[in-house]
Symmetry: C2
Subunit: 308 residues, 2 copies
Amino acid sequence: MKTRPPRATISDVAHAARTGKTSVSRYLNGELHLLSADLKARIEQAIADLSYRPSQMARGLKRGRTRLIGLIIADITNPYSVDVMSGIEAACREQGFTLLMCNTNNEVDLEQHYLQLLSSYQVEGIVVNAVGMREEVLSHLKQSLLPMVLIDRKIPDFPCDVVGLNNAEAAETATRHLVDNGYYALLFLSEPLGSVNTRRERLQAFRQVMTAYPQVQHENAELTLQVARSLQRINLHWGSDIGLIGFDELEWAALAGVGITTLKQPTWQIGCSALQRVIARIEGSDLPIAEQVFSGELIVRGSSQPLR
Amino acid sequence: MKTRPPRATISDVAHAARTGKTSVSRYLNGELHLLSADLKARIEQAIADLSYRPSQMARGLKRGRTRLIGLIIADITNPYSVDVMSGIEAACREQGFTLLMCNTNNEVDLEQHYLQLLSSYQVEGIVVNAVGMREEVLSHLKQSLLPMVLIDRKIPDFPCDVVGLNNAEAAETATRHLVDNGYYALLFLSEPLGSVNTRRERLQAFRQVMTAYPQVQHENAELTLQVARSLQRINLHWGSDIGLIGFDELEWAALAGVGITTLKQPTWQIGCSALQRVIARIEGSDLPIAEQVFSGELIVRGSSQPLR
DNA sequence: TTGTAAGCGTTATCAA
DNA sequence: TTGATAACGCTTACAA
């Protein structure tokens, strides 16, 4: 059993600098105008000598501000989430906050667990990356009274700031692209719609565009066996003259066959904005609850160019 | 400016249950045998009524144990890192620890920043996923006196527990596979070797295997312009009869062309073991510093099957 | 079986 | 300009 040396405390510093804790605290909090040059120097020296770092635990306890922000992610292995995370992380750093990341692995119990956990560490706000999160899980979040911002997905009947993609615009862009490229039958694939706003918005835009092109067959399918049936109904044989556009850019999209056309989301930007919004709430902003959407970008590759 | 209701404290609970803080604390810490059934019930009720959650800040301050573990990752967008992270996260949860994840983005300054940050939150130990981390950065870590475990990569001249892949075995497997499949000229590609043990170990195993096959041409190259030169020297034209094996399994490996053969690392397992090792150190284990290696698995796809 | 009081490392109040 | 001193919410001797 080895035992590590205890950290230096503010009292140690005060003692080494032959002064009181108050002055050291002032030094730490930038109230330098209250300190004589001499005292300032002594404190500086003592801190260096003891390589003292203030305890955020004690600080948080006393001030009630922990400078901690919680991030709840449904699926940490999702590339979209990783990108968003990266944006949030950068924004946190810039604003002097620290991120407590939690991965719920799409499990309801974990969701609860982490929500309580974050609360017990007194995070000042949370960002929820709801991509892939099941609905019954999201509803738990409503209980939390913390400043909170959702990413990508809204929670039905729960007013909350949301930052995400302009789904309608993006779906419209993608749909028109296919039509313009001469495809004569379109299939819209989606996970079960449920009350997930992103899916509904994309589908609605798709249908809207379709009304302008009565000659183009179209169909909607949930990602189940129903897909096969729909393919059959629009008389399309998988593997021959079929186009493909996916939401979310993928690292390997250019490598798979002729390349897959994707609709790229400004993920980093989304993460960054979400964080700024939480911080605004933490600082007490009472702006009306809002939805902030960003435009996507269509990255055209071989999969949406008709074969000759 | 909205103001949120203050959290209930242990005193509030004690008051509501008509008892003292001590009993509530005992209840919270599972010392139930010391409480009468009646008192236990009152406390339970009060906690529920106030939806009280103990403050980990105060707890950590008092006990000196924060149940926090820091994770330093060089590149959060690296799929390998994400997998490892996932394993660590699961192990943390099981052991009742919470993870503070930090992404250094391969930047030296951030490394320093996060090291101090983790220390100021009094994490009880750290795991460093050094994949992609520059050497001069790793050396900063030596300063930390915390229980620490490295993943994948060692730090030169710094004795520390390491968990990772059995690089020699893996490189040997991959090399033999190529030879067995009839390739007659092998090229070993690597980032600059530097003093990075993983790269050196893999290269050494490669050379070792090569001594057994004098008829097979081979060459080593750093991932620079030198690659082109080496390709030329072994008289190989990129695009025709060339095989490929990559370290680390990739989600899309099967989708790219004929598929890319990869050497899959047991990433999750590695993360999990690393965490268990840190915890052992936290609990005071003074086992000798050790290196724990796992075997990789060769996932054979088209890229290592010779074209006819 | 229950409760009182001291103290963890900070910051805030107030007096010197 | 400085510095005691009292909290912050919890755990833990120690008493009762």
